[in-house]
């Protein structure tokens, strides 16, 4: 935890934080309400946030509803994650030109200066997801320079959750709900609403965070206020919508690659790819090549892809993963098993998005429970 004493910012002063960030040249993005869901968008005042809203989340179900207070952060995560800013859904990778003599030249297609974003309201699970993507894109060989350029400009304001979503299981994954120094962040806040007062307990996680705090009308937080904040987060931890026994799950899946449960889940799965698009750690992409009418200017675009598509493993002669079963198996074993081998942690942070946004409500916590309840003993492998 941060060593400096936490400070208190009253709700009526919350806009000073947004103003301070804007003055520093950041474009502040955070949760907003749009078309019945919570989406990330530009926010310039506290009123732009989903004031007084909360969400109901279940397998295949999401609904916003009114709270009986005016909380700014009284809901869990929506379908989007911050990866859309750091790892854009579409990106021009390469520009290629050819002159009359046939000479070819190539230049970086991602040549615009990336926006400097301040991410407001990053949940602990999301900070963990960003740390995981840091390892994917920057920590395992060749660096993704597009990600790197965007990531290092971000100012992040974490929020420790005051309510657990119906599909959340960050406690099981060790990724929340309290924002801690295990994940880099610039500021962290916890919202407290009492009968008389509405305030935020803030801590700085970086030098720049400290500078920002120093310019705000904050007061030292008292012990009762700090413990009021802690009690709300503890309450969230105690009311997680889901749980998953993550211990040994890497081995569990490795040993059950031919388990009949894969057939069972394959019967339900539509291979629609929703789960991979909403997952804050999924990173796969494909490329598209286009040429203009003259044929002398071409571009190579990268866009998000999903291991649920048949094309994903297309090779001359057919796809390596023909069946929906093999594609669901790839996704789940990657998230929970082989991710450990590749990047030294689980690929799941327990945000619950894949459960909520699965049109048929497939729930990985239930799938894992099913493997645990009826494991098959590994058979000696055959050629």
């Amino acid at each position: 935890m941060t060593t400096e004493p936490p400070v208190l910012l009253l709700r009526e002063h919350f806009d000073t934080l947004l103003e301070a960030l804007a003055r520093r040249g950041y474009k502040v993005v955070g949760p907003t309400v749009s078309e019945g869901t919570i989406v990330y968008d530009e926010v310039s005042r506290a009123e732009d946030l989903p004031v007084g809203w909360t969400d109901e989340q279940e397998g295949g179900r999401y609904r916003l509803k009114r709270r009986d207070d005016a909380a700014l952060f009284g809901y869990a995560v929506g379908a989007q994650s911050w990866k859309q800013y750091l790892h854009p859904p579409r990106l021009r990778l390469v520009k290629a030109d050819r002159d009359a003599s046939g000479r070819m030249s190539f230049s970086d297609g991602d040549d615009a200066e990336p926006e400097r974003y301040a991410f407001l309201g990053v949940r602990s699970c999301e900070l963990h997801a960003m740390t995981i993507q840091d390892r994917v894109f920057l920590g395992s060989g060749v660096a993704d320079t597009h990600y790197e350029r965007r990531r290092k400009r971000v100012f992040s304001i974490g929020v420790s959750c005051g309510v657990a979503g119906g599909t959340c299981f960050c406690v099981s994954m060790g990724t929340g709900p309290q924002v801690t120094d295990r994940t880099p962040h610039d500021l962290a806040l916890t919202e407290v609403i009492e009968e008389e007062r509405h305030y935020f307990i803030l801590t700085a996680g970086s030098d720049e965070g400290r500078e920002v705090l120093a310019g705000l009308p904050v007061t030292p937080a008292g012990e009762t206020e700090v413990s009021a904040a802690k009690q709300r987060v503890d309450q969230t931890a105690a009311t997680m919508g889901r749980r998953m026994n993550a211990e040994g799950v890497r081995e569990l899946l490795l040993e059950n690659l031919e388990h009949p449960r894969w057939d069972d889940v394959a019967q339900r799965c539509l291979t629609c790819a929703n789960c991979t698009l909403v997952c804050p750690t999924c990173f796969c992409t494909t490329v598209e090549d286009v040429a203009d009418l003259t044929g002398d200017h071409a571009e190579r675009w990268r866009r998000w892809d999903s291991c649920f598509t048949l094309d994903f493993t297309w090779m001359h002669g057919g796809s390596a993963r023909q069946s929906g079963k093999s594609r669901y198996r790839q996704w789940l074993t990657h998230k929970l098993s082989t991710w450990h081998d590749q990047f030294g942690s689980s690929g799941c942070v327990g945000c619950g998005r894949c459960i909520t946004w699965c049109p048929v409500g497939i729930d990985l916590t239930q799938e894992i429970a099913a493997f645990r309840d009826h494991p098959i003993t590994p058979s000696p492998s055959q050629p």
Binding site: T145, M315, Q330
Partner: protein, 288 residues
């Protein structure tokens, strides 16, 4: 099972960029009806990349796309990068249309190489199915230019029909090399074919080499590699001395696009050459 073999040499040169560099086609040779070989050199005085046998490049056909193509030439021929390509779809067809003097984009080299340093003094068995001979060719050429460093050389190559045999003349010239055995087989023979008929794995028990000391390098369709490993085990060549290459759709070649995952491995980065025992667990399952 104790062994002196490491995974493929991690020190092979590897490119890091997503930006291709322009290369000029200096020559083109038609191998079979659908397969051709092109030699490339850097355009505009660019720097020639060195590579190790088994590595591949991403070749970009202007406006059409990129394909992973193994380097099929000798690593000691510093002048050109040679690629042997089978026309199967959009990109490979565009590459097929390139006449000498045309320009392509190239990124590379990528991937793990054959374990050439570690196999000195050993008998070497090369098993190739179809175009699988192309990625093995740099290793074979390296062996023949340092013939004394290696034991007996066995090359077992299979193709669908006599007309599909690539490097036909070269295979025959390798038959003349000392202490070397080259066996060819096809699935469907014609009247002029005087080699074997049948799948390439049937050649393994007939070939003369010492399983106690030999190293096998295998490249071909997955099913052929599975059965090769079985045959090798049957004659007593342990898995840790069998190296195979895996092939998957790949878009970035630097472990970031996710397409080429095979269990925990990124084939572009951790492969394509793998020691068989390292991937056996996943190799034994379908649709990985």
């Amino acid at each position: 099972m104790s062994t002196c073999f490491d995974d493929p040499d991690p020190e092979a040169p590897k490119a890091v960029s997503m930006l291709p560099e322009p290369y000029v086609v200096v020559s083109r040779n038609q191998e079979t009806a659908d397969t051709f070989t092109i030699a490339l050199r850097p355009a505009d005085g660019g720097v020639m990349r060195s590579f190790a046998p088994g590595q591949f490049n991403m070749l970009y056909a202007f406006g059409t796309g990129e394909s992973a193509i193994s380097i099929s030439g000798s690593p000691e021929d510093g002048g050109v990068l040679v690629h042997t390509i089978r026309r199967v779809g959009a990109v490979t067809s565009a590459l097929d249309r390139l006449a000498p003097g045309s320009v392509v984009g190239l990124r590379g080299p990528f991937g793990s190489p054959w374990p050439m340093q570690q196999v000195r003094g050993r008998d070497l068995v090369f098993v190739a199915g179809g175009i699988g001979l192309a990625p093995l060719r740099p290793a074979i050429l390296q062996v023949f230019s340092h013939r004394a460093d290696y034991g007996r050389i066995v090359i077992l190559a299979g193709a669908r029909s006599p007309a599909d045999v690539i490097f036909h003349d070269e295979l025959h010239s390798w038959m003349q090399e000392p202490d070397t055995e080259v066996q060819l087989t096809v699935d469907r023979a014609d009247a002029d074919w005087h080699h074997h008929v049948g799948v390439v794995t049937t050649l393994i028990p007939r070939a003369r080499f010492d399983p106690a000391n030999a190293v096998a390098m295998v490249c071909g369709p997955e099913i052929m590699m599975r059965f090769t490993a079985v045959e090798m085990a049957r004659i007593g060549l342990p898995e840790a001395r069998i190296f195979v290459t895996l092939e998957r759709n790949m878009k970035c070649a630097v472990g970031l696009c996710g397409h080429c995952q095979f269990g925990p491995e990124f084939i572009c980065r951790d492969g394509p050459v793998f020691r068989h025992d390292r991937i056996r667990h996943w190799f034994s399952h379908r649709e990985v």
